[in-house]
Subunit: 331 residues, 2 copies
């Protein structure tokens, strides 16, 4: 096997989040699906920004949040994603490198601009995202640095990458490189509506073992198998992946393999502030554990800890060190 440089490489849409508090009736009035990732074009992005209250900006993007989380645990992380050569692109690059993630994807020199997601956080802490993909639509196979994939213990990508046009080719190419070098490949199903758009392709990725390890939340796994019954969905999921991980908010998480089931409680919290990044940080903790030889129960506990920390603050990446938090919890 090639020498190992990174624990986890992640690939995703490189996005800066624009986060504001709002009331539920605003979502209804603006036809925003609550709790979902709504794709918007530039015209609607402008309309929503004009209607949005005072906001803060923070680097986001699902798989980039996961890479930042792995690095915060003390893991070695890398990231592929497409920003433009503009102000938001500079913010994104600064923030991901500042936490220690290797990020050398070439920025786009021409329009469209760096992607942004307007995130409305309602009083219940739920986030509703409105994403303008911008430069992310240009991500393609030329952005896959073979040497990085070959030297990463595990490569992980977000299902959201099926939205931009050419990223899926890049993802299939990276899977071949990873497997050729005896590495593991992993994905998150991202969002129930994303699954509606690409259900057959996602199932094919799993059944062909293009991906080995799959993350989903409860509504995503139900959406994948089009069932309202969690146990039926879980059994189908178990059959379709080497390791399947289902997060269930305050009900904790379940990890399934062909012959094992590990159920782990949610990490306790004081006050839910903003769910943005919960799934991304769960994956960060889990994958940090998995690539550092922890057992599956410990991986789930690390995921739960990271998720609990990120939902008690505004924004998708923990402001403090996850390594310190892990040590304080004796994990």
């Amino acid at each position: 096997m090639t020498e190992t440089r990174f624990d986890v490489l992640t690939i995703g849409n490189a996005i800066v989040d624009i986060i504001a508090s709002t009331e539920d009736d605003f979502l209804v009035r603006e036809n925003i699906i609550k709790g979902a990732m709504n794709l918007v074009d530039d015209e609607r992005a402008e309309h929503l920004y004009a209607a949005m209250g005072p906001a803060i900006e923070a680097s986001g993007g699902s798989a980039s949040n996961t890479a930042a989380g792995v690095a915060s645990f003390g893991g070695k992380a890398a990231y592929f994603g497409k920003v433009a050569d503009d102000h938001l692109g500079g913010i994104f690059r600064h923030d991901i490198r500042a936490v220690g993630v290797h990020f050398e994807s070439k920025p786009l020199k021409a329009p469209p601009p760096t992607a942004r997601s307007m995130i409305f956080v309602t009083p219940d802490g739920e986030r509703s995202m409105n994403t303008y993909l911008g430069a992310c639509v240009e991500l393609d196979s030329s952005d896959i640095e073979e040497e990085i994939v070959a030297t990463s213990k595990l490569t992980y990508f977000e299902g959201y990458l099926w939205d931009p046009p050419r990223a899926k080719e890049a993802i299939r190419m990276a899977a071949e490189i990873a497997h050729k070098h005896g590495r593991r490949y992993s994905m998150t199903l991202s969002d129930p509506f994303c699954i509606d758009r690409y259900r057959e392709e996602f199932l094919d990725l799993m059944r062909s073992r293009t991906v080995d390890i799959v993350f989903a939340n409860e509504s995503e796994v139900k959406s994948l198998y089009q069932t309202a019954d969690f146990n039926s969905a879980l059994e189908a999921f178990r059959a379709d992946c080497e390791i399947g991980i289902v997060t269930r908010s305050e009900l904790g998480s379940v990890v399934v393999t062909a012959d094992e089931t590990h159920t782990v409680e949610a990490h306790p919290i004081e006050k839910l502030v903003d769910t943005t990044g919960a799934g991304d940080l769960y994956a960060a903790g889990f994958l940090f554990g998995l690539t550092n030889d922890r057992d599956l129960t410990d991986c789930a506990k690390l995921g739960s800890l990271a998720a609990a920390i990120v939902i008690q603050q505004v924004g998708p990446r923990p402001s403090g060190s996850l390594k310190t938090a892990m040590q304080q919890e004796g994990l």
Copy 2:
């Protein structure tokens, strides 16, 4: 008297904050004066950004935070300040208008870019600012909209405006307009080092009654009169302004006039997170009260409430409604 359109007009350096957590040794290593506003040129700004950890961006600027606070209390607020026609300028404009502040200052079409302040927050919650003034240096008398000054019950500006070259002329001009229309004029002394740079001019503004109402914190009022004795400073302050307000962090605040002294306790807090905006929001509460016919003790209580709220979150402007908080406190 002219018809009244606004409760409070504020004038200041229009800045976007870039906020990151850090340890004290970073401040020492980078020669950043803790708790102060350090002015930086573009080269040092780039150096510090490269050394800075992952950050979030939020609209800031002392007097603009005050205007946003007045609006959040339900007051009618306006703001003059100079941004550039760039991405950060767009963020600044969006955020201040989104909270309901009237802001029509013309953006600068040429360089320099919109001002930014890199704010390092240490574990004790103290913030140390590193401000690149950018477009703010172009603020001048042409930015004073006479009709807005004439129709505002009170105009307030930040002492920081003595740093850019031509803002002081604008401030003196606005004072004449305000007083001609029977309006009040107010300032904050901003920062002990700012006072070191402009002590005589600030004292002259006060003694000539160009300003009627002056805000300072304890170290600023001591710096102004170059004394370590708080009571001596307070008596000198009393003699130099119509209303003097001194904030003292956890010791509360003191309001002095020629023959009155009002001492008000600090509003209790659960956890200090980030002191950014504390003085700005105190001024917001006080000025909202003053322009809405509250007595001086109530004004100080409103200031303390707003300050307590903003120091329990990251960033210089409260994410929730101060009007709601005021009603919940029965103020």
